[in-house]
């Protein structure tokens, strides 16, 4: 059975990057797993857009960072932080859709 991201990572979190952006960090525990997931192509701008139901133009960054064995995606917040209509001022609980992403 193909594993889900939650079984492969040591950190998977979301947080504000300034009041207008939300950033998602996916950090792997060992280089082998990291290289395998990176090579699978499953972590991409298109995947992030699909999981969050947004256009790819709202995914500002989707990049790997080898020194941290990490993938980072940054998206435009639905509303600026703490403004009327907010559901998560710190942006700290927006990562869940990534947890169950299946790595083929």
């Amino acid at each position: 059975m193909s594993p889900r991201l939650r079984d492969l990572v040591t950190v998977l979190r979301s947080k504000n990057s300034g009041p207008f952006e939300l950033t998602l960090d996916v950090v792997f525990g060992d280089p082998e797993t990291y290289r395998w997931v990176k090579a699978s192509g499953v972590l991409s701008r298109a995947t992030v857009a699909r999981l969050y139901g947004i256009g790819e133009e709202r995914v500002l960054v989707a990049e790997f960072f080898d020194p941290a064995l990490a993938f980072k995606a940054t998206i435009v917040r639905p509303t600026p932080s703490g403004t009327v209509g907010e559901t998560d001022t710190y942006g700290a609980q927006q990562h869940a859709p990534l947890l169950d992403l299946v790595v083929p």
Binding site: G18, F65, G82
Partner: protein, 452 residues
């Protein structure tokens, strides 16, 4: 100087510095002691209202510990983004606490206060001159928006802090500052490579978040050497590993390997994170490139006044009919208040158990639990109107007669009495922009204050 040591006492002044960790840090004889006191994270109200988001007592305790440690070692203490947002009311609030602490402890202190407030008229001129642009997805800044903005601050880089240290400050109380500049400034002043200094500052400003287990509420030591820096937690229960430190380079930043500050770009793509032992990590390869000098501005405007009520629904028939109920309550409220159309108000329901946390980004919208929580959130042009709209909508929610209703008592359970909570003023970020400046100190006035 063969090495330059910076002690970061905590990720946020007022979170509670652990005294054991601080003592271990002081034993390492750092050349400066610093802490960040601010963030935009908690929302725009801090800047708008001019209020802190940590308690006065907790701030007094942490400041007392830091100032005493600085006195003991004869090294400067640097506080960045004083009072939370680093605008004048926040800086004055912190200054009052410093005065009390110094009086209580009976020591004199040479304090540098660096103001970070930016006048609206100055920003308007720069907007008109085409020298202001939005940072990332922030909307463009126009004259009416600027008119509504109640407070604007600029984020200082290292230069204003260096100037304060040159003036002999024992304590630097900086208004809004780049978090990393708290540590980068004294290091650059000592002749350290700016790439290493800024990168180390970015790691230190969050306290021991870069350790394993991570925590903002603990001390961390950064040691700058010729071509690298070393990160070491002061609490023996924590360890830094190459992954924990590299991973922290991602934290709260848009891009994994690039970050911009006033007049520079920091490029981490060639960084190397090496373990020195099982608790210390050496970092090298942080590259610094000069860019045109731009200062980040932050500003917020009044958005209205809030009244809210939290309730829960346990009736499975009501949960099935929830969309109908909430739609009808909103419609009835709109009808009723059509009479006061000239007064602006808005209403929304945050439904926990459906999409209360992720809102528009939630991919799973069906309710699968046996109960849901409802937050009714009203924002209006006055507190009085917000109270009135909230009370009306809440009563509609209690007694709306939905299809198939059996429970005619009421539709919602309130955990508090009174059910409705007036929350006061609500703000929004209107300014998150970069402005071109000619001099890195021009927005940041230095004022020396002596405590005898």
């Amino acid at each position: 100087m063969s090495e330059f040591r910076c002690l970061s006492t905590i990720g946020m002044l007022g979170y509670g510095i652990p005294e054991d960790s601080l003592r271990r840090g002081v034993e390492r004889r750092p050349h400066m002691i610093g802490a960040d006191a601010g963030s935009t994270d908690a929302g725009p109200h801090k800047l708008g209202r001019g209020v802190p988001d940590v308690s006065r007592a907790a701030t007094a305790r942490d400041l007392g510990l830091m100032i005493r440690a600085g006195k003991e070692l004869g090294v400067p203490v640097v506080i960045g983004s004083a009072g939370g947002s680093g605008a004048a009311p926040h800086v004055e609030w912190t200054w009052e606490i410093v005065r009390e602490v110094a009086a209580r402890e009976g020591f004199g202190l040479r304090v540098a206060v660096i103001w970070a407030d930016v006048p609206r008229a100055w920003v308007a001129e720069r907007v008109a001159a085409g020298r202001v642009r939005p940072l990332g997805p922030a909307p463009a800044l126009d004259a009416p928006t600027l008119e509504q903005t109640v407070s604007i601050v600029g984020q200082m880089g290292t230069e204003p802090i260096i100037r304060a240290l040159d003036a002999g400050a024992e304590l630097v109380l900086a208004g809004r500052a780049c978090d990393a500049a708290i540590f980068a400034a004294p290091a650059i002043r000592a002749g350290v490579d700016p790439g290493l200094a800024w990168h180390m500052g970015e790691i230190l400003e969050c306290g021991a978040m870069c350790a394993e287990p991570g925590s903002a509420n603990d001390c961390i030591l950064g040691t700058l050497q010729a071509d690298r820096f070393v990160i070491e937690p002061m609490n023996p229960a924590r360890a830094c590993t190459p992954t924990s430190v590299a991973c922290h380079s991602l934290y709260e930043r848009s891009h994994p390997s690039r970050s911009e500050g006033p007049g520079h770009l920091l490029d981490l793509s060639a960084c190397c994170f090496e373990p020195l032992d099982d608790r210390r990590v050496a970092v090298s390869g942080s590259r610094y490139r000069r860019t045109p000098l731009r200062v980040k501005l932050e500003g917020s405007a009044l958005a209205g006044y809030r009244t809210m009520v939290i309730g829960g629904v346990r009736d499975p028939i009501a949960i099935e009919r929830l969309d109908e109920i909430l739609g009808a309550v909103e419609a009835a409220t709109r009808d009723y208040f059509a009479l006061v159309r000239e007064a602006a108000w808005s209403l929304r329901f945050v439904v926990y158990g459906r999409d209360g946390v992720m809102g528009a980004l939630e991919p799973m919208r069906q309710i699968t639990g046996h109960e849901v929580g409802i937050l009714l959130d009203v924002v209006a042009g006055s507190q009085e109107l917000a109270n009135t709209v909230c009370a009306f909508a809440r009563s509609q929610l209690q007694h709306y007669h939905y299809k198939g209703i059996l429970a005619t008592g009421a539709n919602v359970a309130f955990p508090t009495a009174p059910s409705d909570t007036p929350c006061g003023s609500v703000y929004r970020y209107t300014v998150y922009h970069l402005v071109e400046v000619d001099d890195p100190c021009e927005l940041f006035r230095l004022e020396m204050r002596e405590l005898p």
